[in-house]
């Protein structure tokens, strides 16, 4: 009995340790993904995050509080990139308007509708759905519930639904920037990208943007791009083993800069690079500044192609609380994360060149020439 109690306490302590064990950077610090299977159930524990919004279940809800619900794609709110960033935005947005926030993680792609319905039936005011694949279900739910506001992250809106805002990003530009950085930084002249499926347009735009950027910065660069397209949606963003194996095989073929993009699959690529630290290879992360979220890869992380999802989501939530919600597409910000540990290794010339590219992309004088989706 005694040892069992100790085990339980040990499991319970993990999230706490993780929450106080890091820098003062992003909210909701999570522990490493490589946690042993036994500790997995304890992993997400968002209740230990700084946000005061996630009250434990049994507490009663005071009257009329703005309620924000979030449905992830098949992935976790502590995936260290996409879903986590959106969840941080939802928490921050809810906190700013003194509301409360809850999430449901999707485990099965057949459940999008059901998980959204969970928040509808609990009369939530704003429902955030994360990921391109939830697009159809979100549009359906928004049309059926005109009084609820919906935010679809990465969901391009073909036709405007008044109560549905699609938060979209110019991933091709972010991809272009990291592609250019990779090509300029590479010593071997070989760069690679490990991505989730190309049927998801944002992933495709990252990948093709990377290709275009690398080519633009240095035409002779050998560019290897691999998409994880032969598996279904339940797997493509959550296959770190595949990501790692793919990254390792690229490195073995001489690639010295690897861009990993696509939830945990992309994180796998970062782990692969971290494994070959002594070979001088570097990694580039995606969506958030992964120097903060993937501590294993800190030493090898050159930068990240960021989509500022959290800010985008929390801004829309704030706007909604002030009655300024607008349906249709809203374009969020993209950018390069700082170089952190590797800052001294990046020549001033490269930095100048990147700044120049960023300005040209912003001004529209330089185009990525990437189609919105795979044709």
């Amino acid at each position: 009995m005694k040892s069992r109690r100790e085990l339980i306490m040990a499991l319970g302590a993990i999230p706490v340790l993780a929450a106080c064990g890091g820098e003062a950077a992003p909210p909701a610090k999570a522990e490493p993904t490589k946690a042993p299977a036994a500790a997995a159930p304890a992993a997400p524990a968002p209740t230990t995050a700084p946000a005061p919004t996630t009250a434990p279940a049994p507490t009663a809800v005071p009257a009329k509080v703005f309620k924000v619900g979030l449905v992830t794609d098949v992935g976790k709110v502590d995936d260290k990139s996409f879903n986590e960033s959106a969840w941080n935005g939802a928490k921050a947005g809810a906190a700013a308007i003194k509301g409360e926030s809850k999430y449901v993680e999707t485990q099965n792609p057949n459940d999008y509708k059901k998980n959204i319905q969970q928040f509808i039936s609990e009369k939530y005011d704003i429902i955030v759905t994360v990921g391109f694949l939830l697009g159809e279900a979100t549009i359906e739910a928004a049309k059926a519930n005109p009084t609820i506001k919906f935010i679809g992250v990465d969901q391009f809106q073909g036709a405007v639904v008044e109560n549905l805002a699609g938060l979209i990003f110019e991933e091709d530009k972010a991809g272009f920037m990291v592609g250019a950085l990779a090509a300029l930084f590479s010593k071997s002249g070989k760069v690679g990208a490990v991505l989730a499926t190309d049927v998801v347009p944002p992933v495709w735009r990252f990948g093709e943007g990377f290709r275009a950027g690398a080519k633009y910065a240095k035409a002779t660069t050998d560019i290897q791009i691999v998409y994880h397209s032969t598996v279904g949606p339940e797997k493509t963003f959550s296959d770190p083993e595949w990501g790692k194996a793919t990254a390792l095989s690229m490195i073995d073929k001489g690639v010295d800069v690897v861009f990993g993009a696509g939830g945990n699959t992309g994180n796998g690529a970062l782990y692969g690079v971290a494994d070959r630290k002594d070979k001088g290879v570097v990694a580039i992360g995606v969506d958030t500044d992964q120097w903060n979220t993937v501590p294993e890869a800190k030493a090898v992380l050159l930068s990240s192609g960021m989509k500022i999802i959290d800010l985008g989501v929390s801004d829309i939530i704030k706007a909604a609380s002030e009655g300024k919600f607008k349906g249709g597409n809203i374009t969020g910000k993209v950018g390069l994360a700082p170089f952190h540990d590797l800052d001294s290794k990046v020549d001033a010339a490269i930095k100048t060149k990147l700044e120049d590219i960023r300005k040209q992309l912003d001004a529209g004088t330089l185009k990525t020439e990437v189609k919105p989706a795979k044709g």
Binding site: T54, P56, A57, P58, P109, Q118
Partner: protein, 387 residues
Amino acid sequence: MAPARPGIALRLDAALVPVLAIATALVAGGAILWAAGPQLEGPWLGLQFVAVAYLSLLEGAVGSRDAVIDTVLRAVPYAFSGLAVMLAFRGGLFNIGAEGQLTIGALFAAWAGFGLDLPAVIHLPVVLATGCLAGAVWGGVAGLLKARTGAHEVITTIMLNYIASQLAAYLLNGPLRDRSPLNVIAQTPKIAEGARLPDLVPGMHAGVLLVVAVAVVTWFVVWRTTTGFELRMVGANPDGAAYAGVGVVRRMTWALGASGLLAGLAGAVQVAGVNYRSTLGFNVGYGFDSIAIALLGRNTVSGVLLSSVLFAALRTGATKLQFRTQVSADIISVIQALVLLLVAAEQIVRWLYRLQAARAVAPAGDDEGREVAPVTIGSAETARTSK
């Protein structure tokens, strides 16, 4: 023939271990929930938290009309493929391939649904039959390999799973892909209106009735026909069956084919009743869960149906549990795994509750309540360790 009906006591005994296993798993799951949940002061709040979690699970699974419908619908594919695995088990064969057979069944059913232009009356039967046939072929291949070359069905069915999933990836990205400009997902077009299963009540398709019918037929074939008798003979003792003049090779092929047919039907019913199309990755482990379901159901028809509902209820209620507690829904997978672990290693349960060792041999002529292959291994160990 005409065996004596098993007595109530005997049935209770057969159900005892699964029920205790489920109860034990729920208790252990509660401890994990407690640990995974927020830091609470004192055991009282902790217990309360676990209670809220389980009540949410229950409410999410059966707490409303929609919840009940959701649970029942989710049980449908589990039931079909659980019966599939059970059927093969009865013939002494481990069908690990229900996953692939289900995928193939769904794929070809969808093709028949959008590719063929038929009047509504026969379109639906054709869709379901196509799914069955495709699944039967997929399972039958493993059966033939087993019968002709002795290749172990565990290996061949696993390998056929890989082939099935890659074939699905190819067909759904290629020839069978929905070419409409708005579609960016690897999926077929929607099947024709006439090929869809009608609703029994709003929101619940008629596949539920089909489950009941198929369960009855399966029971009848396995326990009341000569074919079924021979199947069970082969399962119990292949050498004995051969000596008694049963075509063992033929029966094995038949068993895996019929098993594949049921798994294929599971896929076809998902297509005709729920998704109206086949999408890459829609089959999220139904086939693998069904092995567990057959085991938990002790390879009886009623047991399979009950465990399908249990699995479906756990999965359906998980959303509510997660919503209320903000604990990962993975907890449900852990509880399921614990149930299975305890059923498979029934020695643990028997030890925990100081139960007597399993009966070594069932009364002659009756094996509705008797365990086959893997569980008998457990019983053998029971006999050995209790010496």
